[in-house]
C-alpha cells in the first residue's frame, strides 16, 4: 500500500474523530489540568497551531501532558495523532527535508512516524524547554539517519545483485520494491509465496514472510519492524540475511562446478574456497 502525504494527515485526523476518542480525552482532562480549557482534542490542536494565543511554556506543558498520556494509556495511536497534528508545521518542515531523499511520500511519512514514536518513548526528551523546536530537529536527524542507513544497505544489495549472473537479476525474489504503483496482492497469494520460499529455500516462516511483505507487497521495513516489535536495524539485517540466503540457494546462481554456498553447506570456511578451487582433484568438486 502506498499513500500520499495528505492521506497520512487524513489518517491522523480520523484518529481524533473515532468513537471513544472524546472519552479518552475527557479522562485525560481530569488528570491533566492543562487540558482543562479544551472541550475536545480538536480544540487543543487548534490552540497548539495558533502560536499567537499562548506562551511557549504552556505549549511545553501541554506536550508533556500528551507524552505522559501516551506512555500511560493504551490509546497510543490517538495520542501520537494528537502530537503530530498539534505540531503539524514541525512535521511538514521535516517532511520537506526528508522527502527528496525518499522515493515516495509513504516512505518519508513512515520514517517521520518511526522517529516520532521513538521520541515519544524517550521520557527525558520532554523534560526540557522548547520541546517543539527540539523535536523538529530530532525528528529530522532520526529520519535522515535511518534513510542513510537504508541507502547504504540498498547500495550494498545493488553491488551484490550486480555481481550475480543475469538470470539471477530477473528473479522476483531479488528485486527491491519498486517506487511506482504496486499491484495489489491478496493475502492468500502472499501466503502461498511465503510458504513456497519456506519449502524451496528453507527460509524460516518469519523470514519468508518478511521477504514477501517487503520485496513483493512493498511494506516498508520501518513499518514491519514496528509491527513485529523489533528495531529497524535488526529487521534490516534479518532481511539482508534472508535475501543472501535466497541468492545462495537459487539453482541458477550455481556455477558449472561449485559455488561458495555449496562449499559452505559442506561445512567449509570461505577462506578455504581458493585452496579448493586450486585443487582439481579435491573431493568437494565431484
Amino acid at each position: 500500500m502506498h499513500y500520499q502525504w495528505r492521506d497520512f494527515r487524513n489518517g491522523l485526523m480520523n484518529e481524533l474523530n473515532r468513537p471513544h476518542a472524546c472519552g479518552v480525552f475527557q479522562a485525560a482532562r481530569v488528570k491533566h489540568p492543562c487540558f482543562g480549557p479544551f472541550e475536545s482534542p480538536g480544540s487543543l490542536v487548534a490552540w497548539m497551531l495558533d502560536y499567537s494565543t499562548h506562551p511557549r511554556e504552556d505549549e511545553d506543558a501541554a506536550l508533556r501532558a500528551i507524552q505522559s498520556s501516551y506512555e500511560a494509556g493504551d490509546e497510543k495511536a490517538f495520542w501520537m495523532a494528537l502530537t503530530a497534528l498539534g505540531l503539524w508545521p514541525v512535521l511538514e518542515w521535516v517532511f520537506c527535508r526528508v522527502r527528496p531523499r525518499c522515493e515516495t511520500d509513504h516512505e518519508a511519512a513512515s520514517e517521520i512516524w518511526a522517529a516520532l514514536e521513538g521520541c515519544l518513548t524517550d521520557e527525558a526528551f520532554w523534560l526540557e524547554a522548547r520541546i517543539a523546536k527540539r523535536l523538529m530537529l530530532k525528528l529530522w536527524c532520526k529520519a535522515a539517519r535511518s534513510l542513510q542507513a537504508e541507502s547504504i544497505e540498498a547500495r550494498r544489495l545493488e553491488k551484490l545483485t550486480a555481481a550475480l549472473p543475469d538470470s539471477d537479476q530477473n528473479s522476483p525474489f531479488l528485486c527491491e520494491p519498486s517506487s511506482g504503483e504496486e499491484p495489489e496482492y491478496d493475502s492468500g497469494e502472499l501466503k502461498d509465496l511465503a510458504s513456497s520460499l519456506t519449502c524451496t529455500f528453507r527460509l524460516s516462516e518469519a523470514d519468508a514472510d518478511l521477504v514477501v511483505r517487503h520485496a513483493v507487497a512493498g511494506d516498508s521495513l520501518a513499518d514491519l519492524a514496528r509491527e513485529r516489535g523489533v528495531s529497524h536495524s535488526m529487521l534490516r539485517q534479518r532481511y539482508s540475511r534472508a535475501i543472501r540466503r535466497l541468492r545462495e540457494t537459487l539453482p541458477n546462481s550455481a556455477g558449472p562446478d561449485v559455488t561458495l554456498s555449496a562449499l559452505r553447506e559442506l561445512g567449509m570456511r570461505k577462506n578455504e574456497a581458493g585452496a579448493v578451487s586450486e585443487a582439481p582433484n579435491s573431493p568437494f568438486l565431484n
Binding site: 500500500m1 484518529e15 473515532r18 472524546c22 497510543k76 514514536e117 511494506d219
Partner: protein
C-alpha cells in the same frame, strides 16, 4: 504496542470503520441524520447552554454489505 501507520491510514479510508459525522446533534435532530443501510454509533458529548444533551454521531457501512474494493 507500536502504532502501525499503514493500519492508521487504511482505517481512515475504510467505509466499514466508523467515521464521525461533523457537528454535534440534539436528540430530536437524529431523524434528519439517520439513513437506511448504514450503522450508527452515538456518543454523549456534553450539553448546550440550555442544558440539552448533545451527541456526536458516527456512521459506517455494515461489513457484510461493503462494496467490493
Amino acid at each position: 504496542m507500536p502504532v502501525n501507520l499503514n493500519d492508521l491510514v487504511k482505517r481512515a479510508a475504510d467505509p466499514t470503520e466508523y467515521h464521525r459525522i461533523p457537528g454535534l446533534y440534539r436528540r430530536w435532530e437524529l431523524e434528519q441524520i439517520i439513513e437506511p443501510n448504514f450503522e450508527y454509533y452515538v456518543e454523549e458529548h456534553g450539553r448546550d447552554e440550555a442544558g440539552v444533551d448533545l451527541y456526536s454521531i458516527y456512521k459506517r457501512v455494515p461489513k457484510d454489505i461493503a462494496p467490493p474494493r
